[in-house]
């Protein structure tokens, strides 16, 4: 799962409950606010009841005061009356004010109106009592009369009326108190309802909010869990893939027929495969962490000097390197193996060198096979030459034998002289052939000076019969006195091969041209030019098909069917390269034919194996 996705879910899970709680709090606040309003109203009702009682008390005090004054005529009794008289209107007004509705009590407006009317009636009845009874009583009393009703029947009636009026006021007061009380009861009930509603709303919203938050959180957690599962599955698949590919690499590495050793940049062994273990004689466990040169002990085959550690070489050159030819690996038990190997840097994606990997293989058998093949080809050349030589020697020997037979019989001195002369000529031919043949197999261990004219003519003598059999003709351009250093037997093998090939290509009536030219030649390594010669052997045969040009130098490739070993050109090129020169074969553009060019340095640096 993406981290941002996860963070988003966490935010949602945090913010939603806060929002829900805020909503619930707002609702709660509103409910409480409303309830507070109701409590105010209830208090208002209480105040109205108190006020009514207070007003009632005042009115009763007034009446009592008035009655006392009426009976006694003592103005002191009028004190409560006068005191009340000053405050009653204000208190009545206050009572009227207290009997009012809040906008939230719209449903009760009609009832409230009735309540107000009751208060208004109270006020009216009170005023009526005052105007119709109290004021006249006071006026009478001040005028010196009495209203006690002892004397006149009218007074009694008047007093009764005053009582009736006061009774009306009492009833009104009672009605107002009752209304206020009823109002209070309603308001309390309403308040209770409201509280219950509040509780219900609170419970419901808590439940709902809780459930919603729970569900939402559950949903979000599921999302996280799903994502987590998904990531987990993905990771497991990836790790399985990695494991598989690692196994595959391991198997591949183990199955590689070549030895593979991987080192860290310091040249310590980090990993090697079975083949490497077999070739070095060290097991992976023993080799792990060892310096490469300890387990990979390599020397030069010819000089026996220690060869540069491939890791050091790779680090120095910072590229893939092949080891020098003729490297010998000394196995742990001392057995020497010819190996062919290469080292390559291992780089991190940033290009930093993180190690070096070496691949090497045992070429001991291959080398022996190649040596055996080269020896075999040498014998094959000798075998083919033997037939030619027999033919070459048999012809003059036959003549000599016939001449000796003739000499035994009677002959004239002239005839004898002629026979002897002929016999001598034929013997000279035999001698020349046998001398050429001697040169072919005289091995030398160091290069010796070779006269190019001599060696080429000697080869042509040996091949004379074969060339003649093929019906070809040889032309030579061989300057005298050109000499190089080399191994004569081997070079003769090369020329024998090339001249035979040319004669076979030229065929009956064809021409083989052998020429030597003095030219600076490029050495095989291409580093410099050296004094040397080009020996060209040309024929006017059909030329070389383009697709065969390079194949001709591969071992066992032959265009001659059973007649050839397929090794001639391969061995020849090997010999020439050993002499530090090169052998090339081209088709001649004009008029067909092909040309083999052997380049040889005058004083070559010998190259031990020729490749």
């Amino acid at each position: 799962m993406q981290l941002s996705e996860f963070n988003r879910i966490v935010r949602q899970v945090l913010i939603l409950p806060i929002l829900a709680l805020l909503l619930i709090a707002a609702a709660l606040y509103w409910q409480i606010h409303t309830a507070n309003g109701l409590v105010d109203r209830i208090q208002l009702s209480n105040a109205a009841i108190s006020q009514t009682n207070l007003v009632g008390q005042m009115i009763f005090d007034q009446e009592t005061g008035l009655r006392g004054y009426q009976i006694t005529g003592d103005p002191r009794f009028l004190e409560p009356y006068n005191a009340a008289q000053a405050t009653i209107p204000a208190n009545l007004q206050k009572l009227q004010d207290l009997t009012s509705a809040s906008p939230t009590e719209a449903v009760w407006v009609a009832r409230l109106k009735a309540d107000k009317e009751e208060v208004a009636r109270l006020i009216t009845d009170y005023q009526t009592w005052q105007q119709s009874f109290a004021v006249p009583v006071l006026a009478t009393m001040k005028a010196g009369g009495t209203t006690r009703g002892e004397n006149e029947a009218g007074d009694v009636e008047f007093n009764l009326e005053g009582k009736t009026l006061m009774d009306a006021v009492r009833r009104d007061l009672q009605a107002v108190v009752q209304s206020a009380d009823a109002r209070r009861v309603r308001r309390v009930t309403h308040w209770h309802q409201q509280i219950r509603t509040l509780e219900e709303v609170l419970a419901a919203s808590a439940l709902l909010g809780g459930v919603l938050i729970g569900l939402f959180t559950l949903n979000r957690l599921h999302a996280v869990s799903d994502q987590y599962q998904f990531s987990l599955t993905k990771m497991r698949l990836q790790s399985e893939k990695i494991f598989e590919s690692e196994q595959q690499l391991r198997t591949t590495l183990a199955s590689i027929g070549d030895g593979v050793i991987a080192c860290d940049p310091e040249g310590r062994v980090m990993m090697m495969n079975e083949v490497a273990a077999t070739l070095t004689g060290w097991t992976l466990n023993e080799a792990m962490g060892q310096p490469l040169e300890t387990i990979f002990n390599i020397i030069n085959e010819t000089t026996r000097e220690v060869v540069e550690n491939p890791v050091a070489k790779v680090k120095r050159l910072n590229r893939v390197v092949g080891l020098a030819n003729h490297t010998i690996l000394i196995r742990r038990d001392g057995v020497e193996l010819n190996i062919d190997d290469s080292g390559a840097p291992i780089r991190s994606p940033e290009g930093e060198l993180t190690g070096v990997v070496m691949v090497f293989r045992d070429i001991t058998l291959e080398k022996r096979t190649r040596d055996a093949l080269m020896a075999n080809e040498k014998l094959a050349v000798a075998g083919r030459l033997a037939a030619t030589i027999a033919h070459e020697i048999h012809n003059p020997l036959d003549s000599v034998s016939n001449l000796l037979f003739l000499l035994k019989q009677q002959s004239t001195p002239e005839e004898t002289a002629q026979f002897l002369d002929l016999a001598q000529q034929e013997l000279a031919r035999v001698t020349q052939i046998s001398r050429s043949m001697l040169g072919l197999y005289r091995e030398s261990h160091a290069p010796v000076p070779i006269d190019l004219k001599d060696i080429l003519e000697g080869t042509l003598v040996l091949l004379g019969g074969r060339i003649q059999d093929l019906g070809a003709r040889v032309e030579t351009e061989l300057p005298v006195g050109l000499s190089i250093d080399g191994f004569p037997a081997e070079l003769r093998q090369v020329f024998t091969n090339l001249i035979t090939n040319a004669a076979e290509a030229a065929g009956a009536g064809g021409v083989v041209t052998v020429r030597v030219m003095q030219r600076p030649i490029a050495t095989l390594t291409g580093e410099r030019q050296a004094d040397g010669f080009l020996i060209e052997i040309e024929d006017n045969g059909p030329g070389i098909p383009e697709n065969l040009a390079e194949k001709l130098f591969q071992p066992f490739f032959s265009t001659k069917g059973e007649q050839g070993t397929g090794l001639g050109l391969w061995v020849s090129r090997g010999i020439v390269r050993k002499h530090g020169g090169d052998l090339t074969l081209v088709s001649l553009a004009e008029g067909g034919g092909s040309r083999a060019t052997v380049s040889l340095a005058t004083h070559p640096t010998m190259n031990a194996s020729g490749d």
Partner: protein, 133 residues
């Protein structure tokens, strides 16, 4: 040492074919001294021409020659005059069977003059028989 027809008034005519000039001349002298009449040819074309035109009684043929090989010449001669015996000379040992079966006698060079003369004379049994009788 038999030299058939040495003193014969009607010596056998032998055609000698070889590309080796010295060898051919020496062989000619040898055969003439032995009483044969000898025709020589240095190559196949010349040899076939003489064979067609002259009443050749036997042929001594070199196997290895440039251009037309001895075996080819022999088979051409067999086609035109099958009755004429052919002696094949070769410097090589072990010639192919079909070549040997084409000719009457096959011998290697260097076996010596007496062997050659004996083998040549054996090609004329009727003549020798007539001589004896």
């Amino acid at each position: 040492m038999t030299s058939v027809g040495f003193f014969s008034s009607n010596p056998h005519l032998v055609l000698c074919v070889d590309d080796e000039l010295v060898g051919l001349s020496v062989r000619r002298i040898l055969l003439e001294r032995s009483g044969y009449k000898v025709l020589t040819a240095l190559n196949g074309v010349e040899a076939l021409e003489l064979f067609r035109e002259q009443p050749v009684e036997a042929v001594i043929l070199d196997y290895s020659m440039p251009g037309m090989q001895g075996a080819e010449i022999a088979s051409l001669m067999r086609r035109s005059k099958p009755e004429v015996p052919i002696l094949l000379l070769s410097a090589y040992l072990g010639l192919p069977d079909e070549v040997i079966s084409t000719v009457n006698i096959y011998m290697t060079k260097g076996e010596g003059a007496p062997v050659l003369l004996e083998k040549l004379s054996s090609l004329f049994p009727l003549a020798r028989a007539a001589e004896i009788s």
